[in-house]
Subunit: 350 residues, 4 copies
Amino acid sequence: MANRKLAFTSDYMEGAHPRILEALTATNMEQTPGYGLDPFCESAKDRIRTACERREAAVYFLSGGTQTNAIVITAILKPWQGVVAAVTGHIASHEAGAIEAGGHKVLTLPEYRGKISASDLEALLRTYDEDANHDHMVMPGMVYISQPTEYGTLYSLEELRAISKICRRWQIPLYADGARLAYALASPENTVTLPDLAKLCDAFYIGGTKCGALLGEALVIPDPGLLPHFFTIIKQRGALLAKGRVLGIQFDALFTDGLYDKVGETAISYAVRLQDALEKAGIPLLFRSPTNQIFAVLEDDMKKTLDQYVETSFWEKPDASHTTVRIATSWATSQEDVEALIDLLTRFRQ
Amino acid sequence: MANRKLAFTSDYMEGAHPRILEALTATNMEQTPGYGLDPFCESAKDRIRTACERREAAVYFLSGGTQTNAIVITAILKPWQGVVAAVTGHIASHEAGAIEAGGHKVLTLPEYRGKISASDLEALLRTYDEDANHDHMVMPGMVYISQPTEYGTLYSLEELRAISKICRRWQIPLYADGARLAYALASPENTVTLPDLAKLCDAFYIGGTKCGALLGEALVIPDPGLLPHFFTIIKQRGALLAKGRVLGIQFDALFTDGLYDKVGETAISYAVRLQDALEKAGIPLLFRSPTNQIFAVLEDDMKKTLDQYVETSFWEKPDASHTTVRIATSWATSQEDVEALIDLLTRFRQ
Amino acid sequence: MANRKLAFTSDYMEGAHPRILEALTATNMEQTPGYGLDPFCESAKDRIRTACERREAAVYFLSGGTQTNAIVITAILKPWQGVVAAVTGHIASHEAGAIEAGGHKVLTLPEYRGKISASDLEALLRTYDEDANHDHMVMPGMVYISQPTEYGTLYSLEELRAISKICRRWQIPLYADGARLAYALASPENTVTLPDLAKLCDAFYIGGTKCGALLGEALVIPDPGLLPHFFTIIKQRGALLAKGRVLGIQFDALFTDGLYDKVGETAISYAVRLQDALEKAGIPLLFRSPTNQIFAVLEDDMKKTLDQYVETSFWEKPDASHTTVRIATSWATSQEDVEALIDLLTRFRQ
Amino acid sequence: MANRKLAFTSDYMEGAHPRILEALTATNMEQTPGYGLDPFCESAKDRIRTACERREAAVYFLSGGTQTNAIVITAILKPWQGVVAAVTGHIASHEAGAIEAGGHKVLTLPEYRGKISASDLEALLRTYDEDANHDHMVMPGMVYISQPTEYGTLYSLEELRAISKICRRWQIPLYADGARLAYALASPENTVTLPDLAKLCDAFYIGGTKCGALLGEALVIPDPGLLPHFFTIIKQRGALLAKGRVLGIQFDALFTDGLYDKVGETAISYAVRLQDALEKAGIPLLFRSPTNQIFAVLEDDMKKTLDQYVETSFWEKPDASHTTVRIATSWATSQEDVEALIDLLTRFRQ
């Protein structure tokens, strides 16, 4: 066993995919205008429009997920509206009140392994239609989902279509948080492509930070009319980088020669391999995850020993003697570390 | 003359100083915790505390100037307070209303080449003290200055002490925006050191984006008690990078082996050289600038010709037949380009 | 049966108690300073301080409940904090997102007939203490309760003491919404006095609008240091009346010769009488209410007939064939109307 | 001379016009729905629509000027916009930062006795059109004027038309603050009628608080499409009175039998009389005021003596030995007090 402690804590423990660093280095001394008005950003936007099969889409580069969520949601919602999300949605619980700081309520729906259901959504929207007394309440003004979800699960194309249909019937925008989108797209279980997202959502972002970039998310607005003066809003919210090219160069690299696919595939192949090993070792999974986040239910004694050799993330305590941990793979996970972890798990079970 | 068009538009036209890129590359595959809780950030904070001669200071890394200004100011001000700034202060006019979006008014003072005067400040504060009727008005709750200012000018140590003294007498924090601080510190005219800032200000930031980093500003809070729960506020405002190390590694490099000094010195030496050449060529300066932003008053005919060979920034129209342009040097300016520009200026005047 | 339709919809269907109108009329042409700096406001504050047995309390007059809640909560909370409330709390669901519009999240707890439990509160606060990972979440910064609750129920002195004790241990303010406080104070089941509220809460308001005034709520801050510059905050939030005396005169009348007690007693005596009659008529109550809001579970057929003669408020549909309605009495309810309603109920059941 | 001190401090020193109190008393025990959905509000709206010759206008009743300004402006502006106002506009300086608390900047223009000029406005708007660099600045999104202004002056119909024309050309709403509108409408110099305001403005309010009501302002939106879901916004901002009728009854009275005209006429006739007397006594006016606010420039010695007998408002110190004071008349000013003041002024000058 390696002396170095293994780390499967998250998918943002390293820097950037080497091809991104190479691109930053190769272009470093070129002179370009600031604020994202440079040719690298233009090229990256162009590649993303192509990948989404949506030439008219507006693409904006932002720095992180909470920032992107807060800015898009605040820009879309009217003062009397709130955003609908699963009770486990990232905006509902793990963004320090960013949506409320922007003046809006998060209206929560039940979650099914991180997903909302079309029928719950429709029931919610229907009450606002029927009941005259809702003038004293926050009205649903958009829907937030994440693909994959905070549990690593995926909306199927059918599920996404159902949600999208309801949103359009009720004329409220649908927004998808794709912080880990590369890991969704690379999943063998995935049925939702980038062009599907561009057709069914009114806004979504393609995650960079957790998918191989140093930082950065690419926000796609299929119909640019949704967000007038969005450049100024980005500036006002402190999210406009003077050297906007830093984001453009990275996304340009991610969408060149299939790098974004490759980033996902590596992680998924290791996640599959690890889940097989866990099952073989008799360690129960919370459920079989289709993406790069794996949830294993460990006996507390076993966890204590394991903690000496490998870092994972605490997820929850299902009962007094067990702990569910999250094991995350990424573009940066090495085969060596995966084998070392499997070796560990196998030994413990013997 | 080179075929390539010269560009002296700004100090954020290139990527990062090569030593920063090298540091990012060298550390790329090391695994660290997220959100700035990594050893690179710790090391960078340590170096900054040392440079400021203030061991107890809190240091936070943020992505850009508007973001830093908006978050610090919103975090410091109470609901009934506003921030005092020069009418030309960046927050007063060029941040798309970021302060107001955070709920606060910018209370403007007259500017003297971008600086406020201690006596104007005192007069303003005195009126709020004397006049009983100010309960219906926004009360000054902090003071914003920039060093160097938006005009490239510098507060002398004496001026800064006078402003600081007033702020302390009236018990309101003093905050200095150091977006281009490297160029202040390297100026032969400068009398204000980092330890001076740490002694006389309650908050200030050391600019990275315009001083050689890809992105990033280092906020220094000499007395950390000023900003409780600031980590959560940073998260809430969408400014917490998952890979916080990206900022830590850069500032660690900037404060290793005097890189931050070197960045400034290069720019200043070329600014001096260019101002000498302009004067020699008989082209009037708006004033002799002590830092890396130079303001030249061009006849419009001359400007038209010059525009074919070199990019500068429009500043203002002092009269119908002249235009003031800003010429900026930076850590990335090359001797070759400086000589080419001087050559151009000389020829025009012959 | 009277031709006029009976109305038991709410406790704000009429103007003001006659003694309030008389006071407004008697003082009408007296000249006073504006903005609540008049002798009527002073006198009213003095009477309220006396009634609360808290000479040092600050008292502010505001116009309505949502306004008072929004301003107090926004003034108390720090940017990283939210307010804890029952899921049925008025601020959580019926104030159109006023708290979120002020930048803060409502953190909900389970409700027990509108009340929160001390143990649920303690469990919530404990998680924020224990778990290191809460820097990404909204921290509880104060507790909101209502007395009586939205269900007309009452916190006992023991219950209030338990909640207050927890709040003080965790150093977060406790705030009580007393929109209908007169009806709590007059209830035979009530064990919480005004001095108790002043001892156990950090802020509470004595409702006027629903307790006999044209409009107005009296906010009591037992320790005035809690809300510095609150006058300016009231002005900023658009809640400062130029003729502040309009509120002062009304509260002065309400706290003269026991009017506030009398307002409650009338309503409670009729609520008792109506609940007796409902029970006698075999109409189930949702529960026996201690205050002026009564909840009766009607068969839908019966409701349809009843609706022709009397107005009530829809509360909920417990099942397919029943409807729960709210019947509210007030200071303005007449014996004649109460007898007419009892007569109706008796006839239906025959 | 009366022993009682005379008071000409403001137009909100008394309660309400007797006819308003009579209306409140006469209707007191009638039962109506809450939240402004009562027949009194309907009747008042109807009378106001008639007076404005605008049947399709939406009318909303709010409690005070700052509240009305803050809610309308926040509801109209988009996140990237600010409101244009005279530097002396009430929203710019005397509302405790209410506009900024709502997230928006006040963009100030020079004032000419409280008025803005059409040409200054056009010049401002033109810069935003021409200059590409304004994406980093707050864009003008509406224009605020007051009629009469904070100096008691009036926009002529011609001036209002010019401003309105520019607003429509640039497609930004024009909003008029009519806190003291009765005194404008009754001025012999006035050329702008209620129907003119309804034609030329996109929103304006008819002041009640300073024009004879206990409290209340009537907001008129000639084209209701301007403010969707405004009822919910009013609720969210804490401005929805449960007993909305309190405002409806008052405006119904104000717009019955010409009471609103009468309120203004009384005040104006006394203002004319007082200005004549001041001039006769050789006391300089700042300018001859067309409405109920008079500005007299007193020698400081004279002021000291006068202060013993009459209360006025401090306005400014034009030089070391003089003070400008404001003398306000209102619907409540008595002939007796006016004569007593004239008597005083005459004596002093002898």
